[in-house]
Symmetry: C2
């Protein structure tokens, strides 16, 4: 029953699958009409059973002549289990190995020869099968006819091919097949081919865009890849990108833990939309309305007020922003930290700068192989410039304004203090800084107070500015942070000056935390997906998210 | 403006606080009435200014006579910054230190003597101030009159007290105060005292429960503590519990990363309520309805189908279950993993057993001090029994049934295969196993198929059972896991047999993942808060959550 699509192979006794729905339907029919229908179905079933018996008999006759019948087909149950080897563990030594891999391609060359391209997490190796006792023509037909993307267990001899296999990633070795068993069969028709998804998606995805490239290969749009993300994840490039994402989270937590920071889990279900009402998702919370936290900001500050001193969180962040750009998601992985300091918020700023230098330099060191793979599709992946001598470049916001002015981009007095850089200005500044300072990562400090949230501490020496900073990679923002106001009176004043009402429902618990005394502190929030995107120079943040969410996309 | 509650201390020039709202209102008034009102307010403001000037003059006169005026009050701005020391770094050596700490208690003994109890993350040390040149009576009054919970910077000499200070946690040392400056002042009235929250909450919280204990100290209910969680977090016990939570997450990720697992971030916003419609939170997602993921189950399996082989996630899990028990939350931290295997799902089960043994044994090793602290309030915290020889005890579900039967708890044939243990039975079984096998952690394998979700693989040797397991600590479940069905036909059959329709919207992407071929795999999901709760023997899971969420509670 379970393997009904593979009628020539033995029936699985072990699946424990219930009887077919048709049979179940029979027993439940009561009325005359239903009985009639059942009789019809019974006749149909009998006919099908007769045909199946016939096919089985034919198959049995074929099998009887098949010298290789134990060497292919369904994976046999056996206590004699072969340990499996990974492609990446292969050596040049000629020896028999057993591998589990996807069929990336299967092709029958002749009645006596077939080829498989096998794939393991994006790595590809060729396997060949040739008719020679005991390998039968039936086995060659089976092997060459395997559905693409099926998972098979292959046992064979590793050998050097006469000429390197240019279409494989492991080109100097091939497998000479002795056995090939089906582990999980893929459907004959797939919505896209993994190998077609190996090439980067076109930047334009207009409806009238060409469907094939100059060599006639299908062009797989970003939409198609994301609609079929499970297949897309199987590409060499996606495998490498997901390792980089994993690496960013790992390196962040490693640095934080080493610094004595405590891992926190703050609630995502909150009672009030305290951080700007329009961009918040509403949740039906039993008989009332709840909201999804837009950041852990207020809660991590409450942890600081709760004497936790140095905390970090790795958790989803939700933004109900109707932004359909290359760098916005409605849900992304946030890497947040908050920390007390002794004398000056630059203690925390330096801590955060060193964090980023650690993450970015360790990515280069630990994930060099993955970066090289991604570079084949996205050439910028390998060229991210780290600051020299392991220390971040820190400029003030007004230094950025001056650099742009030198380059001919002048901001009016009002723009300087009440706006902020536009995305285009940010990118241009990124290029200017790369040219001048030879780094793709830098920090701008002292942003105008007018563009920062209410909890930001004003610069004590010039209230037009604030003790706040943004981090940039390739001219795009990856982190926002600041010293926070820790005095209740100052905090309430700041709220009022931003048009917020401190007595509004939802602020009570937050403000009480300051009424009970709170040490000076600063912190920041990083977007993990953006770090991955800008580090690798990917054209779209969706490529740096497993299952991206945007205003249009809520699946898969 | 910022320090208006501290009129005797200098005005902060550096706060950058905007002008008072009243003044802003003036400039905007246009009509006659408004002008009249403004004039009135102006007169009022002038009167207030005159009074403030008078107070300032008085304070200045007092200050002129104060030999210690530079040694206390508001923290002075200075480039000559003292490095601060933590209580835990104190040695017996008599030397001057500077500390930043909370005032746990302040008391004036006489005009010439005052005491502070200082607190740092729950650790307490006594500080004493005595009048002796240059320390003035004003300084003693200031010190002894500090609001409880204020954060101060104290410089003084560490000395041995004549008799140990029994009310402190560091009893053999005290600080002789030279300087004391305010960093963050707490309000005079707090909703509860941190020291009252040090004692465990009463189990019963009925309205007519006593308000004070036998010694006259206020009884702080769990509700009061959670309503004022920021204060509650400052207790020695909460500090230690939050370290244990942090430790569980850290140890989980450490083990996973060491095993070559990839850290994943799956979406919490999902398009369909695929895991049981009634317990899912609904979200307004732009113009349609979304849901909050009840687990990453379907997504982590899709990652496996996407060839990621070994993945883990640390993320919030949302359950719209109207359960008001000691162990249910509507949002909790989930520790999830999913992994392929070569030959048998027990490869993954053993991997998970070793994970738990690693976490629990390392908690004991790395957090011994925190456990000892928690034990003062919750005596079971230190007595969790680990399995001998570092290997988990694994029994089958039916072994559990038999152990209960021996103890007089018999389940009918139907109960055995269609129900599962009740919570009471689970607890009893936990006690039986503790007595018999001397362990508080164990695993039950082979649960009845009828009680497990549709994606669970049936036991090939007996379809009444399944290849699924639960993990228990002190007789309460902390993890559920299983081998998953990886064959599309078998999966669809299983869905239908559980009354689910595979063609229902929302299952499409999940089922397609199997149509494209998926390797055999197994996994599990742990509740972090429950691990903390049961490891420490806490009476309520809310004590093991920073800001707990339940059907009644959506704040703080």
């Amino acid at each position: 029953m379970a393997d009904s699509e593979l009628p020539t192979r033995p029936k699985p006794e072990e699946t424990g699958a219930p009887a077919a729905p048709a049979a179940e339907g029979d027993s439940k029919s009561a009325s005359k009409n239903a009985a009639k229908k059942a009789a019809k179905e019974k006749a149909k079933a009998e006919k099908a059973a007769a045909r199946a018996a016939q096919e089985k008999a034919q198959a049995a006759a074929q099998e009887a002549n098949d010298t290789a019948k134990h060497l292919y087909g369904k994976l046999p149950e056996s206590d004699d289990v072969n340990p499996t080897t990974r492609f990446t563990d292969f050596t040049d030594e000629e020896k028999e190995v057993t591998v589990v891999a996807r069929v990336d391609n299967a092709r029958v060359q002749s009645a006596k020869l077939a080829f498989l391209m096998l794939r393991q997490q994006g790595q590809k190796i060729q396997a060949v099968i040739a008719a020679a006792e005991p390998i039968s023509r039936q086995m060659i037909k089976f092997t060459g006819g395997l559905n693409v993307n099926s998972i098979v267990q292959v046992t064979g001899l590793i050998k050097k091919p006469e000429i390197p296999i240019s279409s494989a990633t492991i080109q100097h070795l091939e497998i000479h097949i002795h056995k090939v068993y089906m582990i999980s069969e893929a459907a004959q028709m797939l919505p896209m081919q993994v190998k077609d998804a190996e090439r980067p998606p076109p930047v334009e995805t207009a409806d009238d865009a060409p469907q094939v490239d100059s060599e006639g290969a299908p062009i797989v749009t970003l939409k198609t890849r994301l609609d079929n993300r499970v297949l897309d994840l199987q590409t060499e490039t996606s495998q490498a990108i997901t390792w980089i994402s994993s690496g960013v989270a790992q390196l962040f937590s490693e640095y934080m833990i080493k610094s004595g920071s405590r891992w926190i889990f703050t609630p995502k279900l909150v009672g009030a939309a305290t951080e700007g009402g329009s961009n918040v998702f509403e949740v039906k919370y039993f008989k009332r309305t709840g909201y999804l936290a837009q950041s852990p900001q207020l809660y991590k500050q409450m942890c600081i007020a709760g004497d936790m001193e140095n905390v970090f969180e790795i958790a989803p962040v939700f933004r109900a922003e109707d932004s359909n750009t290359h760098r916005h998601l409605t849900e992304f992985a946030g890497l947040d930290f908050e920390k007390t300091f002794d004398h000056h918020y630059h203690e925390v700023l330096e801590f955060a700068e060193d964090l980023l230098v650690f993450i970015l330099s360790q990515l280069k060191e630990r994930y060099a192989a993955q970066i090289a793979t991604i570079q084949k599709s996205y050439p910028k992946a390998g060229d991210f410039k780290l600051p020299k001598h392991g220390k971040a470049l820190r400029l003030n916001y007004m230094d950025g304004v001056a650099l742009l002015k030198e380059a001919g981009v002048d901001m009016s007095e009002q723009e300087r203090f009440e706006n902020d850089f536009s995305t285009a200005m940010e990118k241009q500044l990124g290029q200017i800084i790369r040219d001048k300072y030879d780094t793709d990562f830098y920090v701008l400090d002292k942003f105008p107070m007018a563009v920062r949230p209410f909890y930001t501490k004003a610069d004590p020496s010039d209230a037009r500015f604030s003790n706040s900073y943004d981090f940039f990679m390739r001219g795009e923002e990856i982190m926002s942070g600041a010293q926070r106001i820790n005095d209740i009176t100052e905090l309430e004043e700041s709220m009022r000056s931003k048009g917020l009402d401190p007595t509004q429902e939802g602020f009570e618990d937050y403000l009480n935390a300051f009424r009970q005394g709170c040490p000076p502190h600063a912190g920041g929030g990083l977007g993990m997906n953006r770090i991955v995107m800008f580090f690798l120079g990917l054209p779209n943040v969706r490529l740096a998210s497993l299952f991206p969410r945007d205003p249009q996309r809520l699946r898969p």
